[in-house]
């Protein structure tokens, strides 16, 4: 084995991963893709009808699919900005998902960095602070949803009253798309910052401390040390964290389902799950939405990869 060429050796090492992924991920995805090319059959034992090509995709984009909510509802106009939103912003799955992903990831990155920085210091009780910061990440999504659901239940929690008196929320925030969007955002930041924090912390801990000595002697202020040493060296870990958080955020479902519900804040995954399990068995549409979602995520991630391709130590 040691005598294999580097390439052959690499392929050998990748074999177990790809074997598992092929069986459990790629194969199902291919089958799902095939499903997305067939018609729905809501009655009868077989859930799939004839082969229809990309019709399902056309339907979801044009709003003709049998989805409870719009995937995307924009019209083209002749005047600037040439597109016109149909359904309100917070009701369009694509926009809601994108907005959620962007805002949550940005804030989580900042918060996560702050938390990681705190955890990277040496102080008594650090272990317990670390437990505290990790805790939200350990909370099952149902419970995370429940906490924020109850907090904003006017009879139970004080969240609604508080936010209403501050003039930020309406009286029934969980039924109001904009308010519910913000609640979900906060809930996600609460839970997922820990994810960021853990990965960034690992990055911080892997930095060779003697580099800080060099920088200190060279005259770097703490901020400069952060910017010039810490950040670039943590960047690879940070990028991985952001990459996966972005993808996770773009697939948000459970949290929405267990707080405001997919009706109030529809996300792309909401559409998939509703199409699949909503009672009307439209598997083909569900598969098509899933692939459309993947395509959207793929585009965003593609942008990411392009932007950060040259980052030192990056993975591409």
């Amino acid at each position: 084995m040691e005598n294999l060429s580097e390439a052959a050796y690499a392929y050998l090492l990748l074999l177990p991963a790809f074997a598992l992924l092929t069986l459990i991920a790629f194969y199902p995805l291919i089958r799902t893709f095939v499903i997305s090319l067939r018609a729905n059959r809501t009655r009868g034992l077989d859930p799939l009808g004839a082969f229809v090509g990309i019709e399902n995709y056309v339907d979801i984009l044009t709003g003709n699919a049998r989805l409870a909510r719009q995937f995307l509802d924009v019209g083209l106009t002749s005047s600037f900005p040439f597109v016109e939103l149909g359904t309100p912003f917070f009701q369009q799955a694509l926009f809601v998902t994108l907005a959620f992903a962007v805002i949550s990831v940005v804030i989580e990155t900042v918060v996560g960095f702050g938390q990681a920085y705190v955890l990277d210091q040496d102080f008594r009780g650090r272990r317990w602070v670390r437990v505290a910061i990790i805790l939200p990440w350990a909370v099952p999504i149902v419970i995370q949803g429940m906490i924020f659901f109850l907090l904003f239940q006017p009879t139970v929690g004080f969240g609604s009253d508080l936010m209403q008196s501050l003039g930020i929320f309406s009286a029934t925030p969980l039924a109001n798309s904009r308010d519910a969007f913000i609640i979900i955002l906060v809930a996600d930041i609460w839970k997922s910052s820990a994810f960021m924090a853990l990965l960034i912390l690992a990055g911080l801990q892997s930095v060779d401390r003697s580099l800080y000595d060099v920088a200190r002697v060279a005259g770097a202020s703490p901020w400069q040390r952060f910017k010039l040493i810490t950040l670039p060296l943590v960047m690879p870990a940070l990028l991985v964290a952001m990459l996966f958080r972005t993808m996770d955020a773009m697939r948000v479902f459970g949290l929405i389902e267990s707080t405001a519900g997919c009706t109030t804040v529809p996300s792309l995954s909401c559409l998939v799950v509703e199409a699949m399990f909503g009672g009307t068995r439209i598997y083909a549409t569900a598969a098509a939405v899933a692939f459309a979602t993947a395509l959207v995520i793929g585009l965003i991630i593609g942008g990411y990869v392009l932007v950060f391709r040259d980052t030192e130590g990056g993975m591409y």
Binding site: N40, A68, S160, T172, L174, G261, T263, F277, G279
Partner: protein, 452 residues
Amino acid sequence: LGRGRSPGRVVMTAAQDVAGIMHSEGDDPSIQQALWDAGLDEDIRVEIQTVVSDSASRMQTTQSALQAGRAPPDIHMMDSGWTVPFILREQTVNLTERFSEDVLGSVNDNYLEAILETARHPQNGDLHALPLFPDLGFTLYREDLIEDAGYDTSGWGTDPPRWEEFANAVRDARDGADLNYGFTTQAAAYEGLSCCTFNEVMTSWGGAYYGGTDNLFTAGDRPVTVDDQRVIDSIRMMRSFIEGEEENTLDGYPQIAPSAIVQWTEQQSLSPFSAGDAVSNRNWSYAIAETGTEEAFGENLGVMTRPYAVSREEAEYADVGGTAAALGGWNLAVSPFSDRQEEALQVLEAFATEDVMLTVFELGGFLPPNLDLVAEVSPDDVGPVARYADVVQAASENAIPRPATDLWPEQSALIYQEVNAAYRGAKAPAAAMSDLANELEQSEAEVQTNGN
């Protein structure tokens, strides 16, 4: 890891509540015992596969089992709201073909017709599931407070007041007793709104989704009537309840409901009421059991079906108008993938006996599908519900099932979104309903074009 199954075991899905009374220690009564007593083969034992009780999650579980062709479970407990889609997908055993004549006859004769509808094949009327228990929507109120406010509630139980009277009574009672809430109900954007609470209100205004009860189970070729003025008025009344005199409200109806109802489901709406903080609450029979005990409100709990605005006579469509009680409940269906269908069918037949129904009622408080039986039991055995047997009877007479075709799930979503938006004032009721009508028509058209 192995899960070898001893012969004679029949696996049935059920939530904690049913699971808890299926078997018992020693000689204590249990459903299993009742089934045996009712003639079930002693070798056959029902084993419960506990599932979550949330209806939507249960549908997912059921769907993934049946879609994968998996058995056990041999018997699936299905919500009356989503039994029909499974029947249409050929994922249930046709009981009409498999039940013995007399059992089939007694079911057809004695069971509450409305719930049987949810268990029949919509096209040929064959029975594909056996109702285990129905559930009905009730309006609970604090008799003492309303009486104190100077209203006479003596006849309300079987002859509910009109909405105006009810609303005024609630308002006065609330103000008199200085409570936080008047009337609490469920108006969140969820199945419960479209199937039940809005359905009730709409019906009590003489409105209907598809022009009367005849068309409930025949998708495709039926009128969509949600943009009727009566339907719109019913929404405006609800807006009055929520907002008082505001846009899109109806004169003469006071503010009695908290705006929070638009994000409330059963639990949240019940808790202020059971805590003594509200005058009235719309809920299911379990709420009677919970708030009608001596420790709670006892005799001070009033129960009735829905107040109404348009009497049945005044209504345009068949069997709408007047008071109404939404129909819920659960059916038992045999999995066609089971290798123990015979045993399962035996179990179902045993469930169809009155003794078993009564045992279920007594042990779990679940209404028997033959509602006449409610009057036969004493409150000592089954708790407060029996006290309101007449109301239950009235409710069963005015029960309105949801139009649970296989299109219902998607239509339900369309309905509750629009209704909730209208309740919240995010959309004008008329606009919401005309949008809804369009959407529903599109959905109905699906049936014709696809023919599936």
